[in-house]
């Protein structure tokens, strides 16, 4: 098992804030809109540095999506910022019509996704956003795993012509991917080569997958661990190549089972390479208040849960 060290501990939303500031310095077409959550989204540095390119829309997310679409038509590269809940479900029709269907080059940047939002509870803990966004034609869906990768993704999407949903979170998490990495949309990242099982993880669960790989290695199980930071378009080639070798799959994500990464991979494999698989995800339930790590445990989204799934499907395979 390849060794990963924790370089730092930071929140992915701060990676977004840093990336936004950096990309705005390089590309003067970048503008940012925020719906009354500027410091929560870590957009303050951008606002301070580029006040004329920052648009406060107040608590009016539908309007924000429309304005962003209008700016995109005119050649700007708008980044919208609010919580993931208000970036998707609340404004689904605006995104569908004014952005996705209209080919508007808007970057929908969504913080506080998933259970790790914590104490605010289920109203804010969206677990359906990946599903909603990946269903839209023309929409790219990205869920990076740590601060460095979120920063790199934020920078990379400016050069991509098209609508993007960029999902990140609130809590401080281990940083383990390299600083100043080049982010390639749609390119799965092989974190550990293995032969017994393929673990595909996204977002905060990537670190859990690495920890699971270490535990499995101690038990003599060689796990291939792949970071699927882009859920759409899915890196089908990398996934099929890995599964050809391992013929056993576990997916892991901080999202509902319905509509998430596991669902996308199951769809791919069912049609191309039927394979026994198990999914670590939220089982058709709403979240609740609590500390992020307590919630991840209660809802079964930890390294231990990944290990358990691997052991279970290995047993049923033999």
């Amino acid at each position: 098992m390849k060794k990963y060290t924790i370089l730092d501990r930071k929140d992915t939303r701060s990676g977004f804030g840093a990336g936004l500031l950096e990309v705005a310095q390089k590309n003067d077409q970048v503008v940012a809109l925020c719906a009354d959550l500027t410091s929560s989204l870590k957009m303050d540095a951008f606002q301070k540095r580029f006040p004329h390119r920052f648009f406060q829309v107040g608590i009016a997310e539908a309007n924000m999506m429309g304005i962003a679409a209008g700016m995109a038509i005119s050649g700007k590269i708008p980044y919208t910022g609010t919580f993931a809940n208000f970036s998707t479900g609340r404004v689904y029709d605006q995104i569908r019509q004014s952005i996705a269907y209209s080919h508007a080059n808007v970057k929908i940047c969504a913080s506080h996704a998933g259970l790790t939002l914590g104490e605010d509870g289920a109203t804010h803990q969206i677990l359906e956003d990946i599903g909603m966004m990946k269903m839209l034609p023309h929409m790219t869906v990205i869920n990076p795993c740590d601060y460095n990768q979120t920063k790199a993704a934020t920078i990379a999407i400016a050069d991509y012509q098209g609508a993007v949903y960029l999902r990140f979170g609130r809590p401080v998490m281990p940083v383990f991917t390299p600083p100043d990495q080049v982010f390639e949309i749609g390119k799965a990242l092989l974190l550990n080569e293995g032969t017994d099982v393929s673990i595909f993880a996204t977002g905060h669960l990537v670190w859990e997958a690495i920890k699971a790989g270490e535990i499995l290695a101690e038990q003599g199980i060689s796990a291939e661990i792949i970071n699927i930071h882009t859920i759409k378009p899915l890196d089908t080639e990398a996934i099929l190549q890995s599964v050809q070798k391992t013929r056993l799959v576990v997916t892991a994500e901080e999202h509902q089972l319905n509509g998430g990464l596991g669902d996308s991979i199951a769809q791919l494999l069912a049609q191309n390479l039927p394979t026994r698989m198990a999914m670590v995800a939220v089982q058709d339930r709403f979240g609740e208040s609590g500390k992020p790590e307590e919630l991840m445990q209660k809802y079964g989204l930890t390294a231990a849960n990944i290990v358990e799934k691997v052991l279970t499907i290995r047993k049923s395979k033999s």
Partner: protein, 284 residues
């Protein structure tokens, strides 16, 4: 009868042809929205043949030209006709309206690159926000052209309209002219009965907009009002025109009833409608 200004006469002639196009398109498709389209024909002709400063061939970004957005996308027939008559695309293409493989979708869409369309509309309440974004982008680009957006009166029931209204006044989006087609009708009946707007002008004034009113089926008044509105831009305040129209204007049996909001005429009704509308530019 007073002698009509030749310029107004020219515009009225175009509007008559546009109305013919509308009823023929909707008849040809067997579906569509003739009522609001007919009511807005005078405005749309005034915009595209007199007021808007635009360039051809069409450039989607709208840099260095006025931009128009249609928020109430269901009145696509009038927009398609005016765009075709203004030279954005071949008038023959009007015959494909709402048919399979057509660029002239039931509601406006960008996906096949139809010239003149910059954003999809149909789901109501979104166009004003889009227009605000385009207007603010113009300011960033130091482009002093204007952005126009047409909305429906039933559409004023959508909450997003008021989010956008609040925003545009707060941010002093003063290169934007909103127009509301006040025809008093929506699908389920008169707006007053379905969901009264009460004093619509007072609402917009309270939101911080400069409010004008005009009779939208009087070409001379439409042109004068649009020129007046243009003169009120660049004053730290957005402008909205309440345009009072008659749904179905120009075809007697379609007028003043919500029943022609979204119904196609049959062969006999088409003939009766066309008999009332002079063919001035040649049917497509």
């Amino acid at each position: 009868m007073a002698i009509e200004d030749p310029e107004i006469s020219r515009l009225n002639k175009i509007a008559s042809q546009v109305r013919r196009d509308i009823v023929r398109m909707v008849h040809g498709a067997g579906s569509g929205h003739p009522g609001g389209s007919l009511g807005c024909a005078d405005l749309m002709v005034a915009l595209y043949f007199k007021i808007l400063r635009y360039k051809l061939p069409f450039n989607k970004t709208g840099q260095g030209e006025d931009m128009f957005f249609l928020s109430n996308g269901h009145i696509s027939p009038v927009w398609y006709s005016v765009l075709a008559r203004a030279g954005f695309f071949d008038v023959k293409e009007l015959a494909t309206f709402r048919k399979i493989n057509s660029r002239l979708q039931g509601h406006p869409a960008t996906h096949e690159g139809l010239e003149g369309i910059r954003i999809a509309s149909g789901s109501l309440g979104q166009g004003l926000s889009v227009a605000i974004g385009a207007a603010q982008a113009k300011k960033l680009n130091q482009d002093n052209h204007l952005v126009y957006v047409l909305m429906g009166d039933g559409e004023q029931q959508e909450g997003q309209i008021w989010e956008a209204a609040m925003y545009a006044a707060h941010h002093e989006v003063d290169n934007l002219i909103g127009i509301i087609d006040v025809n008093g009708q929506q699908i389920d009946g008169p707006v007053e009965q379905v969901m009264s707007l009460k004093d619509l002008g007072a609402k917009w004034r309270a939101f911080g907009w400069r409010v004008l009113e005009m009779r939208g089926n009087d070409m001379e008044e439409v042109v004068k009002s649009l020129i007046h509105a243009r003169g009120l831009t660049s004053r730290q305040q957005p402008v909205v025109i309440l345009m009072h129209t008659t749904m179905g204007y120009g075809v007697d049996f379609m007028m003043n009833s919500h029943k022609w909001h979204g119904t196609a005429p049959n062969d006999e009704q088409l003939a009766r409608a066309l008999a009332q509308l002079e063919e001035t530019l040649g049917d497509y």
